[in-house]
């Protein structure tokens, strides 16, 4: 679609190692100073089928995936069949000559001549690396680092195959336009959304993570578990999601900043616990990584259809905040923010992400970890009043929090309606005040809401409204339309609850046309905006086939609509 970026798609069966080449290539590209957006598409199986790993890269900032493929690397025939029509006019297919496919954009590579089958991946990596203009030495180093504990023999062989691939490609009469040289810092990191959430949580002071495996949230657990000993945290796989959230609540109650992560179905099981956290006023951060539903749906694909669920989850009424990061950096910072709010307002705070974003690697600058202090704890070690009352009424609705066993004060928390001291009550006057106390905290949460980000033309003919992981795609589509002479603005929400009408409703009114762009089938944000502002966003670009929203998708829909 644009010649400023190159989109490399590696496709093949699960188990063929396409993620390996994908990751090495991504890291090499990032270390060369380029920007990347990775899109992983895989099936709910361990071997076989068809998976793909697409890396879009560029010298300027790349913010969205792209459908058009500039270099296709098929590890099997199916990949060509499935992705051929995505190939751009100048695109190339880098394929093993053994694949036996005739295609005038195809480059048949004599992989088998260079090394045995198991090095095919490395060979393909070499060809692509050369084509896009990477430095051989850098790719080789990246590879070595990736294969960490490899014997010297294999390291040498890998290197050799890479060299052959580079040399062979250099000799081909190809005019593929390489990436321009850049002089960016080479300490760029490669991180996907879930990794950034894990890192953000660690930096915020996470001490306890409990979970039950569920795609696409599991990688948060994997990332945290791998670091648990070093960081002095506990990561525990629970017997089910209900246990996961209740454990985290227990750990938070006794003083460990806690988080849980899951996806729609697992989250449905957690919702009673969400209500418990609210009632007992226990801080907890909950990550919901969305995938297509109902029920088991498409476990390894993406969707944005659980926003309303998360917003209304848990019986009864209580305040909450829902963050929906749109960049990897936001994953990091909003996770920190989630811990802050959870501590301050003592209740459930949500991070809403999705499969696309969970698996989407990006090149980012390192965070200033050293300068970032963990979130301030909300508990006090001594109490001003005695006996200590866990749910003392205050103007803000926030009561002083103490921890059991840390002082002589007794801490009593209750899932039943309770009086200020935490003991069960049936006093209905107290009940009413407690409801008001809890809801009062919502005002505080509202006061620190992140306003949606308005970008683009000042007097737009059209405003594109969006939330969460589609941020990049929407921005790119808008800028594309602007370069076609249209006046477009975007209004993107990285926090979808609370919504503060005053922050954005005028932006919605100052345009002729509003379009809401969402990865679901019913337009959940549009509905919510109408509920909170009265503004109807009649036009919607929705996607619900399990794939992420791309700039092309938006443009196609806006033109055909």
């Amino acid at each position: 679609m644009t010649r400023n970026t190159i989109n490399v798609l590696i496709g093949g069966e699960a188990g063929q190692g396409l993620v390996t080449i994908g990751e090495i290539l991504t890291k090499s590209v990032a270390r060369s100073g380029y920007s990347v957006v990775v899109t992983q598409s895989y099936q709910s199986r361990i071997r076989g089928g068809h998976n793909s790993f697409a890396i879009r890269m560029g010298a300027d900032e790349v913010i969205a995936p792209q459908e058009a493929v500039d270099i296709l690397v098929p590890l099997d025939k199916d990949t060509v069949r499935i992705h051929r029509e995505e190939l751009s006019p100048w695109g190339l297919i880098i394929m093993d000559e053994a694949l036996d496919i005739a295609d005038d954009q195809g480059i048949k590579v004599p992989f088998k001549q260079w090394a045995p089958d198991k090095f095919l991946n490395i060979a393909a990596l070499g060809v692509v690396s050369y084509l896009i203009g990477l430095d051989e030495e850098l790719v080789s180093q990246t590879m070595n680092k990736f294969f960490d504990k490899m014997d010297q023999e294999t390291v040498k062989e890998n290197r050799l195959v890479l060299e052959k691939a580079f040399r062979w490609t250099a000799d081909q009469p190809l005019s593929f336009q390489k990436l321009p040289r850049v002089s960016h810092a080479s300490d760029r990191l490669v991180m996907n959304g879930n990794e950034a959430i894990a890192l953000g949580a660690l930096s915020a002071g996470l001490k306890f993570y409990s979970f039950y495996p569920m795609t696409p949230a599991t990688s948060i657990a994997v990332n945290l578990a791998g670091k648990s000993e070093k960081m002095g945290i506990i990561v525990e796989q629970a017997e089910d999601e209900i246990a996961a959230i209740n454990m985290a609540i227990g750990a938070s109650f006794t003083g460990a900043p806690s988080m849980v992560g899951t996806s729609g179905g697992g989250f449905a099981l957690m919702t009673e616990g969400v209500s418990l956290a609210a009632m007992t006023e226990t801080p907890i951060v909950i990550v919901v990584s969305q995938r297509p539903a109902p029920a088991t749906g498409l476990p390894t694909r993406t969707e944005q259809s659980d926003m309303e669920l998360v917003l209304h989850s848990g019986h009864g009424e209580f305040p909450r905040a829902i963050f929906a990061p749109g960049t990897v950096e936001e994953c990091f910072y909003l996770t920190r923010k989630a811990f802050e709010l959870a501590e301050r307002y003592q209740g459930p705070i949500f991070i809403l992400t999705d499969q696309f974003f969970a698996d989407s690697y990006r090149a980012i600058d390192p965070f200033d970890i050293e300068d970032m202090s963990p979130v301030n704890p909300s508990y006090a070690l001594t109490s001003s009043s005695s006996p200590y009352r866990r749910y003392a009424f205050t103007d803000s609705g926030i009561s002083q929090r103490m921890l059991p066993g840390i002082s002589k004060h007794l801490v009593v928390a209750d899932s039943d309606e309770h009086s200020e001291d935490g003991h069960i009550t049936e006093d209905l006057t107290v009940r009413q005040r407690m409801v008001e106390k809890r809801l009062k905290k919502g005002e505080g949460i509202k006061a620190e809401v992140l306003p949606p980000q308005l970008q683009g033309d000042e007097k737009p003919d059209m405003v594109l409204v969006s939330w969460g992981s589609s941020k990049g795609a929407v921005l790119e589509a808008a800028s594309q339309m602007r370069s076609n002479g249209k006046r477009i603005a975007t209004l993107h929400f990285t926090q979808v609850w609370p919504l503060v009408s005053e922050q954005f409703s005028e932006h919605l009114q100052k345009t002729r046309e509003l379009v809401c762009i969402e990865g679901n089938a019913t337009g959940q944000l549009a509905r919510l905006i109408r509920r909170e502002t009265g503004v109807l966003i009649a036009k919607q670009v929705l996607r619900y086939d399990g794939l992420p929203i791309t700039p092309e998708y938006i443009l196609r829909k806006l033109c055909s609509n």
Binding site: F208, E239, P404
Partner: protein, 283 residues
Amino acid sequence: MVTISDYGKYDTTWCPGCGNFSILEAMKQALVARGLEPHQVLFISGIGQAAKAPHYLNANVFNGLHGRSLPVATGAKLANPELTVIVESGDGCSYGEGGNHFLAAIRRNIDVTLLAHNNQVYGLTKGQASPTSDEGFITKVQPGGVASAAFNPAVVAVAMHAGFVARAFARLTDNLSDIIQQAIAYRGFSLIDVLQPCVSFNKVNTFAWYKSRCYPLPKDYDPTDWYAAVKTADQWGDRIPVGVIYRNERPPFEEHFPVLSQGPLVGRDVDRMMLKKIMEGYA
């Protein structure tokens, strides 16, 4: 020195004559005997008549959801292993709604004591069958009698090689108190299934019914003999043994976490240099 009065005296919402009263007394006695002060103890409970027990003494309390006290206890203990964590809840809570957590707690061998008030009925919701109701037990929602076999928590726990398994009878208060003390002292998961007459809804397994059946395990009973313990735990009907049925020396769950050797997680700082290194690993 801690005394019974430190644990206070509260009005309860229990029915007069309920077996819960003796359990509450035995618990206080045991805490005092163990020299535990109220702030050192954390009670966790679910929902039910039994689950209200922690409201009736002085201690730290987390009264959570029906059936979910064991996961809360697990998290609480992991975050602060110095607390004495005791779960008190009913048979419905512990073996019905919470059945899966019961299995998991045994497997983990987390250092938590589960004291289940087993009245073989759902008290608070007015008399439906519980998992431990005997077959044939008639209630308003089981007018033809319970069709499922009764759940025997002790035999399941022993079969799973749980760390510490005991059965008690509420009205044998001293015996119960003694068992509670042992359970608290035990480093690992301890189950105390306490037979508790419910005067309002269980007109079959009454005080007299239990009393005529419960007998203390003989002095020479060896609770470390697993195979014998299975048989002992399985005994139910005319004769019901009470006492510590089984115990072993499995390491408690907490020992698997090196970080916990330094005590509670609270207040630990974030090792930012380490985190920076971790971050750099993403290069």
